[in-house]
């Protein structure tokens, strides 16, 4: 598991994960996101383009980071879902929980949009 972070417009940071996201590899992503949150970076985009497998461990890390960032006035948006990962997200209703976007730029710009009321 490799995790690369890139700054985006609007004080947003993109975290790109690469590889299998299972119980063995998820600490790498978890530690990166926790460090960013501790540094006060609450607007995060997770790019999952290069993640073709995600287990429940990975899903839990995303949920936890989302809860923590929202409590700090930010959010965690996701982008570039691999079809396999999208299938797993649909099984557990994640598509209606997370903001999911086609590109990291779209996800970053969504932070400046008013939140949907629905």
């Amino acid at each position: 598991m490799k995790v690369v972070q890139t700054p985006l417009a609007g004080n947003v940071v993109c975290v790109k994960a690469e590889g299998r996201l299972d119980a063995a590899t998820v600490p790498t992503l978890e530690q990166t996101m926790q460090r960013l949150l501790l540094e006060g970076q609450a607007k995060l985009v997770v790019n999952l383009e290069a993640v073709s497998y995600i287990s429940s461990s990975g899903l839990r890390v995303l949920l936890t980071a989302r809860r923590q960032s929202r409590s700090r006035g930010g959010d965690v948006f996701l982008c570039c879902l691999h079809p396999r990962v999208k299938e797993i997200f649909e099984m557990v209703g994640f598509m209606s929980v997370f903001g999911v976007y086609a590109t990291s730029e779209e996800a970053a710009s969504a932070f400046s949009q008013p939140a949907p009321t629905a």
Binding site: D22, A23, A24, S55, S56, S57, L59, R67, V92, G93
Partner: protein, 140 residues
């Protein structure tokens, strides 16, 4: 009948090897990519639960996986460990589609196993430990 067996240490580092083993076995039965992926995920969740809960907190041991492709084409996977006894009835159902924020620890893995496989059975006895058997019917 195809029968394959793998024994690995019950640690997260074994998950990639387990995934390869499952893929090779299911491909040997000429199942498609979707089926391979679904079985891999169910087994990954099952083994992760063993590593985290049965062998967590100082317990150590191996995980034995046995895969059969039966003559009629169904896949049977047995996963055995010597960790703490596992009682599936103690795991609450995850609130799928509702309040995911309150997702209970461990319940999501069990949910995927039941969702992706046709049959999931747990058995424990003092001599043999935990035995999980999962069945996936041959794709039509």
């Amino acid at each position: 009948m195809i029968k394959r067996r793998l024994t690995v240490p019950g640690r997260f580092e074994s998950l990639a090897q387990i995934a390869e083993f499952v893929e090779e076995t299911v491909r040997a039965a000429n199942w498609n990519d979707d089926e391979v992926y679904h079985v891999q995920m169910a087994v990954d969740e099952a083994c992760s639960n063993v590593m985290e809960h049965a062998y967590g907190s100082g317990w150590q041991g191996d995980i034995d996986l046995t895969c059969y492709i039966e003559d009629q084409g169904d896949l049977v996977i047995s996963i055995r460990d010597n960790g703490k006894p596992f009682d599936p009835s103690s795991v609450p159902e995850p609130p799928i589609g509702a309040d995911l924020e309150s997702l209970p620890e461990g319940g999501l893995g069990l949910y995927f196993m039941r969702k992706l496989m046709d049959q999931v059975t747990f058995h424990f006895d003092e001599k043999n430990g935990n035995m999980l058997t999962m069945v996936k019917r041959r794709p039509q």
